[in-house]
Chain length 173, copies 2
């Protein structure tokens, strides 16, 4: 996640993410512990970015989650670009970046849950097939808090909205 | 996702999920299109379950997402068990099931976003290592809407809160 804090681009790894909707608006969520430095940047500018790291960025991804922007300047770690919102820094090295404006904050005792509306998505053309994101080309880093490890995406197993028809056939026999 | 609708257990595949917090309370989210049959069951009983399917359940997982409980009785598809909430049916065949009470509903034009508090988690002992869930043993089905496919989990890539220290070493040279 990228935001501007005290006038400088800052990045942090976020474990607790979610999809609220697809359509209009497209809403996503980030559950961020209240002590993080980035939270004040989102509240000030009401913008942030969500950047999907590939496997080759595993060290950088972990680094920005390990060290706080309070003490560590992380603005030089990536090649940064901006979109129409101007204050949501995005990471050129990530194959997919989403530029978001703050839609709402859902308050909990421990976490600010930032609900963002995606205003634009930027992708590296090399990961597109027929104008859609090819997840196998993205090679996303997957995080599991139980093992405290990053994992890769595996093989495709089946077509969605399709393979379940086999059950219907069996039930009708 | 499991809930009781019109007195009967019903199950549906949910694409839009999220983690809000960990701690007290543990909150998760489900973004569910407003036309789904299950939504009324969650609103009536204020309970639901979240069940993680393994790869071997790919047909069943897709089936409950393809056909609505309005017309299809899905209560006989799985071995069902209940916990303390009594109205959140869980799936024995899934290695991880979370029993949730409704915490709040975040309303959007297209989706009800149900925010649930996890009151109990039930796991198959075969997927535990040192009392923690072993994600590689779960073999979760991963869903990607862009490809309209289910994917498997791949290999572990690196330790979290660890591999990023390499970047710090490089920056200090």
């Amino acid at each position: 996640m990228g935001t501007t804090v005290n006038g400088k681009p800052n990045f942090i790894t976020i474990a607790h993410i979610g999809i609220f909707t697809h359509g209009k608006p497209n809403l996503i969520s980030l559950g961020m512990g209240k002590t993080h430095y980035s939270n004040q940047g989102i509240k000030e500018n009401r913008t942030f970015s969500v950047n999907i790291p590939s496997e080759n960025l595993v060290q950088e991804t972990d680094y920005v989650g390990l060290y706080s922007g309070k003490k560590h300047d992380k603005s030089g770690l990536f090649e940064i670009f901006y979109g129409e919102l101007k204050t949501a820094p995005m990471i050129r090295e990530c194959p997919v970046s989403m530029e978001c404006k703050l839609h709402n904050v859902y308050d909990t005792p421990s976490h600010d849950v930032f609900i963002g509306e995606i205003v634009e998505t930027y992708v590296d053309e090399s990961i597109l097939i027929d104008d859609a994101v090819d997840i196998s080309a993205v090679k996303p880093l997957l995080f599991d808090m139980s093992s405290r490890k990053y994992w890769s995406l595996g093989d495709e197993k089946a077509k969605s909205w399709n393979v379940g028809k086999e059950i219907k056939k069996k039930l009708q026999l």
